[in-house]
C-alpha cells in the first residue's frame, strides 16, 4: 500500500515538473503543426497527394518530436541528484526506468495523441483511418518511450555526443514506422500488423528496465 502511494506521488512530482515546463510541451505541439503547414504548403493544395502522405507525415513528425524531448528524460533528475533520492526512497533502478518511461508517455506522447485528430482534419485523412492511426500510435509511441529511456540513460554516460542517442532511437524505430504506416495503408492486414507492432513493444518493454537500470546505476556510480 505504501509502495503504491509512493508510485502515485512519483507521478505527482513528474506532473508538477512537467507543468512547470508547460511551454516545452506547447512548443512541441506547435512545431508539430508548423511542420504540417510546411508540408501542405510545399506540396501544394493538391488534396490527393496530401492525404496520401498525411499519415506518413504525422508519424515521422511524432517520432522526431519525441526524440526532441529525450534530453529531459533523465538528464535533469540526474544532474540535480533527484534520481539518487528516488532510488534511496526504495525504487530499484529498473523500476525507476519503468516509471519514467510511463511518465514520458503520459506527459510527452499523450499530448500528441490528443492533437492527432486535429492534424487529421488539416491533412484530409479520412476519419476511419484515424482510428488505425490512433491505435498504431498508441502502441508505437510507448515503444518509442522505451527506446528513448534506453538511449537517454546510455547517454548519461556519454555526455559528449547527445545526438547519438537520438540517432540510435531513430534507427531502431525504422521497423516501427514501416509497420505502423503499413497498418494504415493496408487495412486488410490490420490484425497481423498490429500483432507485430505489439510484439516489438513487448520485446523493447522487457529489455527497457534491465538496460536502462544498468546504465543508470553505472552513471550514478561514476558521477
Amino acid at each position: 500500500m505504501k509502495f503504491f502511494n509512493k508510485i502515485l506521488f512519483f507521478y505527482y512530482r513528474e506532473y508538477k515538473l512537467n507543468i512547470s515546463g508547460f511551454q516545452d510541451i506547447l512548443t512541441n505541439i506547435i512545431f508539430f503543426f508548423v511542420s504540417i503547414f510546411i508540408f501542405i504548403f510545399s506540396v501544394g493544395p493538391n488534396k490527393e497527394t496530401i492525404s496520401v502522405i498525411g499519415v506518413a507525415i504525422v508519424w515521422t513528425l511524432l517520432l522526431l518530436s519525441s526524440t526532441l524531448s529525450l534530453k529531459k528524460f533523465y538528464q535533469d533528475d540526474f544532474e540535480n541528484g533527484n534520481l539518487l533520492i528516488i532510488h534511496l526512497n526504495g525504487f530499484s533502478y529498473g523500476f525507476i526506468a519503468i516509471l519514467k518511461t510511463f511518465s514520458h508517455f503520459l506527459f510527452v506522447q499523450i499530448p500528441f495523441l490528443l492533437s492527432i485528430p486535429i492534424a487529421c482534419i488539416l491533412l484530409n485523412i479520412e476519419s476511419d483511418k484515424l482510428m488505425y492511426l490512433l491505435v498504431s500510435f498508441g502502441i508505437g509511441s510507448l515503444t518509442l518511450s522505451c527506446l528513448g529511456s534506453i538511449s537517454s540513460s546510455m547517454n548519461l554516460m556519454n555526455q559528449r555526443n547527445f545526438l547519438l542517442g537520438s540517432v540510435i532511437v531513430m534507427i531502431f524505430s525504422v521497423p516501427i514506422i514501416i509497420f505502423s504506416v503499413g497498418i494504415i495503408n493496408m487495412e486488410e492486414n490490420f490484425n497481423s500488423l498490429i500483432n507485430i507492432l505489439f510484439g516489438i513493444l513487448l520485446i523493447v518493454f522487457a529489455i527497457n528496465p534491465w538496460a536502462s537500470g544498468l546504465c543508470l546505476k553505472l552513471s550514478l556510480e561514476n558521477n
Binding site: L8, F9, Y12, L84, H87, G90, L220, E221
Partner: protein, 201 residues
C-alpha cells in the same frame, strides 16, 4: 547498526582511500574529516551502496548491506553536498512533493514550526532557484524532518550556514541522538558538536 570493515574504493584505477573502518550505533554521531579530495563524499556514497567498493564490506544490522539494501534505505536519509530541490518550483511545491513522495506522516503544523525555526516561513511562494545559498541549504534540512528516519547521512551540512543556523543544527543533532537516532556527517569545521567517533580520511 552500520559497520564498515576495511573499505577501499578505487576510481579510474586511482586509490581514493584504503582500509577505512567505522561503526555507527544508535544514538551516536560520527564525523568524517579530511582534506579536499580525501574521499569523504565517496565514503558516504559507498555506504549508501551507490559506489561499488573495490574491497571490504559494509554491514547493516548484522547482515551484509547488499542483502538488506531496501530495509537500509527505509531507515536512512541522505543529504548530499549539492542541493536536490527543484529550482523551478516554489518552496511550497517542493515541500509538498517531498512530503507526498516520502509518504510522510508529519502533519502541516510540524512542518510550519520547522520552517519557522529555520526562518524560511516567508519564502514559501518563492522559487527555490532564487533563494540564497544558505536558505537552499536549510531547505534541504527540511527533508530530515519530513522523511523522519533514524539514520542521517549528511555531506557537509554545516557549510554556507550562518552561526545561528549552525547552532540550530547542533541542537537538532543532539535531539536526534537523544531519540536513539544516529548521524554520520562530513565537515571541515566542528563548532563544538559532541561526536562519538572521528574518522580521518
Amino acid at each position: 547498526m552500520i559497520i564498515v570493515k576495511d573499505l577501499s574504493v578505487d576510481r579510474l584505477d586511482k586509490k581514493i582511500f584504503e582500509k577505512v573502518n567505522l561503526s555507527l550505533t544508535s544514538g551516536n554521531i560520527t564525523i568524517l574529516k579530511g582534506k579536499n579530495g580525501s574521499g569523504k563524499t565517496t565514503l558516504l556514497k559507498a555506504i549508501l551502496n551507490i559506489i561499488e567498493p573495490s574491497f571490504g564490506s559494509i554491514y547493516w544490522k548484522g547482515k551484509l548491506l547488499k542483502k538488506n539494501l531496501y530495509d537500509f534505505y527505509n531507515h536512512v536519509t541522505y543529504i548530499s553536498d549539492k542541493t536536490s530541490s527543484l529550482k523551478k518550483l516554489t518552496l511550497k511545491d517542493n515541500i509538498n512533493i517531498w512530503k507526498r513522495f516520502f509518504c510522510s506522516n508529519i502533519n502541516n503544523s510540524q512542518i510550519e514550526t520547522a520552517l519557522k525555526t529555520l526562518k524560511l516561513e516567508n519564502y514559501l511562494n518563492q522559487k527555490v532557484g532564487t533563494l540564497s545559498l544558505g536558505e537552499t541549504k536549510k531547505l534541504e534540512f527540511l527533508r530530515l524532518i519530513i522523511e523522519n528516519k533514524s539514520v542521517w547521512i549528511l555531506d557537509e551540512p554545516l557549510s554556507n550556514l550562518d552561526e545561528s543556523s549552525i547552532e540550530l543544527m547542533k541542537q537538532t543533532f543532539e535531539d536526534h541522538c537523544a531519540q536513539e537516532g544516529s548521524i554520520i556527517f562530513s565537515s571541515h569545521q566542528n563548532p563544538g558538536i559532541y561526536v562519538t567517533e572521528e574518522v580521518n580520511l
